[in-house]
């Protein structure tokens, strides 16, 4: 019997690969001479551009406003001149317009004293509006706009506010460093969210491979009644639904949101942004990014302005020590490969990995042996091979009945498959096909 909690079904233990970065303090990246700022850095409608080529912008100036209910503001990370508005593809495959801003002029925030404000006198709506105006989005990967997430739907109550500090993806240690270096900001962020949600319990879930972070959070959060729950190291502990199961022993019903079981959760990085937006009046224009992988010369965690080029960050980490097999944005299990090193850092970029051939282990797919390892690995209790075979035979309805839509795309099944079958690839494609079919039938 393990004394640490975890989710019950499946899970895998890939090599952690965090050692090369987790013990080094966060460094500041040099300011970019040119920032490429996408208007779609979040889930939902892209922000509506407010600037045109030739415009001068201040550091932190609003350059894109939310264009819908689920949308987020975008700010200029540097002072400068808008050179062009161009189209580009982000590593995630999302096509977006972006403002290309060339650095010039004075920094209005950098190096200036921070004027903190007393948020305790603010109304809930006022705080939510600040989150919206400052472009705060979830930084754990999904980049869901925070002002929407922290508005409890009518007729619902948030019983538990869960702070996701599992950071279960291998290599990534940005959250770990943030917990160590911004402990107070996280706790202040939690206090702000507490005011919005009024939860009965606040629990921070951290995997036990971060004992120093657990200690610091415990000490900092004790006065506010914040519980810190050490969790067993197992991927995907930080997947929203699995974290809820691990900590609260509750399951979010299929197709529903966590609020269904009285839970709202947020990543630690998001809480720092919440704190900075509300207390310091600072929009989200930078974030901490883990630069790691076997091909990076000096891996580390870097605080970079949004819109910085990935190439610059890799240079900042000593460049490439060897030819990588893949460049990945995000973690190695759920992240996206990309080729264009000029791609910008966005609010959702948790890591940039340059992985070697040995780390990647890429092989051609062979026939399924029905070994059942995917079944054993699935944290959602699905039978991935059966879903895959139904997709292969164009039986999308059967694939759905077997739980295609419940898959959290964590990649555990495809990671363990000895036949290297591209399960996640098939699931993503099938869901895309379902969406298109549904849209066609509708209109």
């Amino acid at each position: 019997m393990n004394k640490f909690k975890t989710f019950t079904r499946g899970g895998i233990h890939p090599p952690e690969g965090k050692g090369s970065t987790s013990n080094k303090p966060i460094r500041n990246a040099p300011l970019p001479a040119v920032a490429v700022v996408p208007f779609s850095q979040h889930i939902g409608a892209p922000a509506k551009p407010l600037v045109e080529p030739g415009d001068h912008v201040e550091e932190g100036q609003l350059i894109g406003e939310p264009a819908g209910f689920v949308s987020a503001s975008v700010h200029s990370p540097i002072p400068g001149t808008v050179k062009e508005i161009k189209n580009l593809y982000l590593p995630s495959g999302i096509k977006t317009t972006a403002a290309v801003i060339e650095l010039d002029g004075e920094f209005s925030r950098l190096g200036k004293p921070i004027l903190t404000r007393d948020w305790s006198v603010m109304a809930k709506d006022e705080i939510l509006d600040i989150l919206k105006q400052h472009g705060v989005v979830g930084q754990g990967g999904a980049t869901f706009p925070s002002h929407v997430k922290f508005s409890v739907p009518k007729g619902r109550t948030c019983e538990v506010f869960l702070v996701n500090a599992a950071e279960c993806e291998p290599y990534l240690s940005a959250d770990h460093r943030v917990m160590l270096e911004h402990t107070e900001d996280i706790v202040e962020g939690i206090r702000i969210i507490k005011k919005l949600l009024d939860p009965e319990r606040i629990v921070i879930g951290v995997e036990v491979n971060k004992p120093d972070a657990i200690e610091k959070l415990k000490a900092a959060g004790a006065a506010d009644g914040i519980e810190v729950m050490p969790l067993k190291v197992k991927y995907p502990q930080g997947a929203e639904k699995n974290l809820i199961e691990a900590i609260l022993d509750r399951e979010v019903p299929s197709g529903k949101l966590p609020i269904e079981v009285g839970v709202i959760n947020a990543n630690v990085g998001t809480l720092v942004s919440v704190c900075e937006a509300v207390r310091d009046d600072k929009p989200v224009i930078e974030r901490v990014v883990t630069i790691a992988g076997g091909a990076i010369a000096q891996p580390g965690n870097i605080r970079a302005r949004v819109g910085s080029s990935i190439q610059d960050l890799i240079e900042e980490c000593g460049g490439l020590a060897e030819e990588p097999e893949k460049f990945v944005s995000g973690g190695p299990l759920m992240g996206f490969t990309f080729i264009d090193l000029d791609s910008p850092v966005t609010k959702g970029t948790s890591g940039i990995l340059a992985l070697t051939k040995k780390e990647v282990q890429s092989f051609a797919a062979t026939a399924c042996l029905s070994c059942g390892r995917c079944v054993k690995a699935c944290p959602m209790g699905l039978v991935p091979t059966t879903i895959f075979k139904n997709i292969e035979h164009e039986r999308l309805d059967d694939a759905t009945a077997f739980g295609l839509d419940d898959c959290v795309l964590c990649g555990a099944c495809a990671y363990v498959c000895p036949s290297h079958i591209p399960l996640i690839s098939a699931f993503k494609a099938a869901r895309g096909r379902k969406r298109r079919l549904a849209a066609m039938n509708k209109g």
Binding site: S254, L333, Q361, V383, D406, P418, P422, I424, S425
Partner: protein, 336 residues
């Protein structure tokens, strides 16, 4: 950059492992038993095993070539099938028989259903059963093992002798070991355990098979559920009900005798665990193992044949899709 980096869908890393690695370990685990068969029966054992492997590999290679399919020999699964067929042969079998068994296993049972992963019956077992019922006499002519195989003295297997002796048993006797003794074949449990008894080439030493099987379980190449459920349930049934035919009461069966004779260990550790033809889930595999144990017991206890392992596993192979259909894991967030 000399070469563009890969663009793939997540996950971007992968656990080391491949079909070839799985099959390679299975072969490695079978090596001790193969070596032992050669020690006991000499060059003939090597010839029979080599012939069945060659036949299996050549059949698969030719079929791939003839139908312009991708070469699948590198996955080593045909080699595993060949070795297992060789293991299931009596030492003095005419060499054409394992060859026919291999051709049948690969061409009919495996290839015609779509190749590795698509067959629903264990090819090696199917090949063995096919030749067993086609050339019954040759498949049941046994020889006593002797180091080096110098003198091929024929003699029945312990299970065969016991079956025969039981048919004209008039008074109660203290179990199968005493029965063997009275039939003029005094045997110790150690003889059974080490394979100093007549039997198929690969099933001789329970000890070496257990070592190989444990290796595969520890390396997580095969699961533990099937061997444990199979051997466990079989032992339980034998202990509970086998004593009665010797005139004993309930729970007086000789478990050790049945565990270490015949193809039980080979079947439970290397044939029933074939992942292609066993269930996907933990619960399913336990049911599969229990079924194998039950049917092996039923055939050995009530059937005309002394052995029951092959048929029991094949019977459970047939039920796999049914088991998979009902024994699904409990899904997250779905109330059934």
């Amino acid at each position: 950059m000399e070469r563009l980096p890969l663009v793939t869908t997540s996950p971007q890393i992968h656990a080391p492992g491949s079909t070839r690695r799985v099959m390679g370990w299975v072969l490695a685990a079978l090596v001790p038993a193969a070596v032992w068969s050669i020690v006991l029966f000499g060059w003939r054992a090597a010839l029979v095993i080599t012939a069945s492997v060659a036949a299996a590999v050549i059949t698969e290679g030719l079929l791939n070539l003839a139908f312009k399919r991708e070469n699948t020999l590198n996955d080593l699964s045909a080699v595993v099938t060949g070795v297992l067929i060789g293991f299931n042969m009596p030492p003095e079998v005419p060499v054409f028989i394992p060859v026919v068994a291999s051709v049948f296993a690969i061409a009919v049972v495996k290839w015609s259903f779509g190749g590795l992963g698509s067959n629903w019956m264990n090819p090696a077992l199917a090949g063995r059963v096919f030749v067993f019922f086609s050339w019954g006499t040759d498949m049941t002519r046994w020889t006593l093992p002797g180091i080096g195989g110098a003198d091929a003295v024929s003699g029945p297997t312990p299970l065969g002798s016991v079956k025969l002796a039981l048919s004209d048993l008039s008074a109660g006797i203290d179990g199968p070991m005493r029965l063997l003794e009275s039939a003029g074949m005094p045997t110790t449990y150690l003889d059974l355990f080490l394979g100093r008894i007549p039997g198929s080439l690969g099933e001789m030493s329970a000890l070496l098979l257990i070592i190989g099987g444990l290796l595969l379980i520890i390396l997580k190449i095969v699961n533990w559920e099937i061997p444990v459920a199979y051997i466990g349930s079989f032992a339980l049934f034998m202990w509970a009900f086998d004593g009665m035919q010797y005139g004993g009461g309930i729970f007086s069966g000789d478990v050790l005798f049945h565990l270490f004779t015949g193809g039980l260990m080979l079947g439970a550790l290397f044939m029933a665990t074939d992942m292609v033809t066993s269930p996907l889930t933990l619960k399913g595999r336990i049911i599969f193992g229990l079924g194998c144990g039950l049917f092996t017991f039923v055939i050995r206890r009530f059937g005309n044949l002394p052995e029951g392992v092959s048929l029991a596993i094949i019977f459970m192979n047939i039920l796999v899709s049914l088991i998979d259909r009902f024994m699904k894991p409990t899904r997250y967030g779905v109330v059934s």
